[in-house]
């Protein structure tokens, strides 16, 4: 029971880490940059959804869809304001600029949304259901399904659609993509939009289990980056699997050894794993031809 319960908790949380980390993967693959304030994007998803669903009383699904659309717009702003100007000049200052923009977003939410954390109560997500003799929240079943579903959708879109093919072309050779008429800046902007939609989805899914407040994404963002590196930031499935692995290991350590050891052992294992596989468990070394 101890192990089964830990596995359920771990898979739920791991899917969230994976979803956030998938956002890192998308932008890194297309532009070799990431939005370091991915946690803020997650928070925005939860805050937008809360505002529409609870404050304004919209149906949950409409609230979630509009919240995700706003997240996509925010992602494009991040790319336009905090990434593009620096990359154009060959500077790495986007590292700091994305963090700074995230802090601005956190504080804007603090002043507009309020100082106190709010409870995101969804009638269908409250209470618990029994699965294999174990009581779990309905959301704990939904979260991994949505997480893996989005990862699969990303895979399919990138392989089977024109937009996906365009993005893959940018990933493989930016100059060649430009020569065949692909609008590279638009492709990169789109990648940032997808990245923040993933983060926003994670925020909306986690909010009813947690609470909604301006700094709710900080710690998640940090863990998700560790997951992205662990999985090998160049592999979509690798990142998702690393998220699941991280969540499961975290929950198992807590359940079997006690919470005092969770952070020490989890992050120590990350260091060991990266020492053995420096490009991440599922990543490949970048080959640079000279």
């Amino acid at each position: 029971m101890l192990v089964t319960s830990a596995l359920v908790s771990g898979i739920g949380l791991g899917s969230m880490y994976g979803l956030l980390a998938l956002g890192f993967y998308v932008t890194y693959a297309v532009s070799s940059t990431v939005n370091f304030a991915q946690g803020s994007s997650m928070m925005l998803g939860a805050v937008f959804a809360y505002t529409f669903a609870i404050t304004l009383g919209w149906p949950f699904w409409s609230a979630a869809l509009v919240a995700l659309a706003l997240c996509a717009f925010y992602g494009m702003i991040v790319e336009l304001v905090a990434v593009r100007p620096y990359v154009r000049r060959g500077s790495n200052a986007w590292l700091m600029a994305t963090v700074a923009l995230g802090i601005v977003a956190d504080n804007l939410v603090l002043f507009t949304f309020g100082k106190e954390p709010r409870g995101f109560v969804l009638p269908w997500a409250t209470g618990s259901i029994e699965v294999l003799g174990l009581r779990i929240s309905p959301l704990q079943a939904v979260i991994p399904a949505v997480g893996l579903g989005l990862a699969a959708a990303l895979h399919l879109v990138s392989r089977r659609t024109r937009i996906g093919s365009a993005l893959l072309a940018v990933v493989q050779n930016r100059d060649a993509a430009r020569l065949v008429g692909i609008n590279v800046p638009v492709a990169i902007s789109l990648a940032f939009a997808v990245s923040t939609v993933f983060a926003g989805a994670a925020g909306i899914l986690i909010a009813p289990l947690f609470n909604v407040h301006s700094d709710m994404g900080t710690f998640f963002g940090l863990k998700a980056f560790a997951v992205a590196i662990l999985g090998g930031i160049t592999s979509a499935w690798g990142v998702m699997l690393a998220g699941l692995l991280f969540g499961i290991v975290e929950a198992l350590i807590t359940a079997l050894l006690g919470s005092a050891y969770t952070q020490i052992l989890t992050f120590s294992l990350v260091i060991v794993a990266l020492a053995i596989a420096p490009n991440g468990i599922f990543g490949r070394a970048e080959v640079k031809k000279v």
């Binding site: 101890l2 949380l13 709010r118 409870g119 009581r135 289990l209 609470n211 709710m216 006690g258």
Partner: protein
């Protein structure tokens, strides 16, 4: 002519008082984030007390009080910066604050070094007042962990007949302080905990921690955590379908606990130093009336929330005014001696008799605690109906 002369005479008599500088009282507390509501309650308690004192003409022959607040965002580093600013720049006579034990513990050394009294109206960590400094400038009108911990054990046994309680504590210095206190309380009765689990304040899922306690045979839980973390424990218990009695420190009182924890919020019984429900003393009636007059959102006792923040801060300010009056000046060491000279004060929480001495810097003890629960979004004494 004679009327003009009398007016000039009145002006002459009042002039020194009118020209007197106010006595600045500093407050460092969380005014934003998860505990913002608690910080606001402390502010309100202090404000009502200061208004009352100023209306009576202040202290030290007409010097009035002025409150200067700073937000520590529940972060020790920000609390230290704010405390330094209030002590060195604003020159406060007494500093109030530290909603969170880690913030208070970070501020304590500065106050002892600068010899400025530090009054705690909330943070309950035992080492805040028992900090080993000599002279010690830290006083408190609030619960004290080691005393609360004895009360928690006693309540769990008396109310729930619990024999094997497990601890679920937030992983910070406050949790540590309570772990020591609970172990000492259990040890004094020859008992051991079913288990000790610590969780992070931003943990989404506490099920693995709680499953360990359940597997260890815990028949009740001692909970220590602020509003958000406590709500996470309650929601995790709901998911598990496990309903052990929950005896808690007062963390849940600081915010929208029912909204965050859901319907099971009412199952958490937690300690308070005061409740505005039930029959009030004349001081209680006076303070409630003043709160309702000053703050339009307060329409009755249920709106004074969390009540401990208001009550502790009100009594702490009144005792501080007496200490300053006893000191005859605003010098830190003199005010410290002034606290020891307070003989009696009929306060909100109780009738204080010699509340402070060189050996005891805590004015409130276990005889002053009230056990409460959330009914909807109001904190009521356990068993009292709305």
């Amino acid at each position: 002519m004679s009327r003009l002369l009398s007016f000039a005479l009145v002006l002459l008599v009042c002039a020194p008082a009118l020209g007197q500088e106010p006595i600045k009282i500093g407050l460092v507390t969380a005014l934003s984030g998860q505990s913002a509501r608690a910080g606001e309650a402390i502010t309100r308690g202090l404000t009502v007390a200061i208004d009352e004192l100023n209306a009576k003409g202040g202290v030290l022959k007409g010097r009035k009080f002025e409150l200067v607040r700073r937000d520590d965002e529940a972060t020790p580093a920000k609390g230290v910066t704010a405390a330094r600013e209030l002590v060195f720049k604003e020159k406060v006579a007494v500093l109030f604050g530290g909603l969170d034990t880690p913030v208070s513990l970070a501020i304590v050394p500065i106050m002892n070094q600068e010899k400025v009294p530090f009054m705690g109206p909330w943070a309950a960590g035992t080492p805040i007042t028992k900090n080993g400094a000599n002279p010690n400038f830290v006083f408190r009108v609030s619960a004290v962990d080691e005393i609360v911990n004895r009360a928690m054990l006693q309540y769990s046994q008396k109310t729930f007949n619990a024999k094997n309680c497990g601890m679920i504590l937030v992983n910070n210095p406050w949790g540590e302080s309570n772990e020591k206190g609970l172990m000492a309380a259990l040890g004094a009765k020859g008992m051991k905990p079913a288990g000790i689990e610590k969780f992070e304040a931003n943990d989404v899922d506490v099920v693995p921690h709680l499953t360990r306690l359940k597997s260890a045979g815990a028949d009740c839980l001692f909970l220590v955590g602020n509003v958000g973390p406590s709500a996470q424990v309650v929601k995790s218990l709901d998911r598990m379908g496990w309903k052990p009695p929950i005896v808690s420190h007062w963390g849940p009182a600081g915010g929208r606990f029912t909204e965050l924890a859901g319907p099971s919020a009412k199952d958490v019984h937690f300690v308070q130093t005061y409740s505005f429900f039930g029959k009030q003393s004349p001081v209680g009636e006076k303070v409630l009336k003043a709160l309702m007059a000053k703050y339009p959102d307060i329409k009755g006792p249920g709106d004074v929330t969390p009540a401990v923040g208001v009550a502790n801060a009100y009594d702490a300010m009144m005792l501080t005014a007496l200490a300053i009056q006893n000191a005859g000046s605003t010098s830190g060491p003199a005010i410290r001696e002034g606290y020891y000279k307070i003989a009696q004060y009929q306060g909100l929480i109780k009738n204080y008799t010699r509340p402070f001495s060189p050996e005891n810097h805590d004015a409130v003890n276990e005889n002053d605690y009230v056990w409460t629960q959330f009914i909807d979004n109001q904190i009521l004494p356990v068993g009292m109906k709305k």
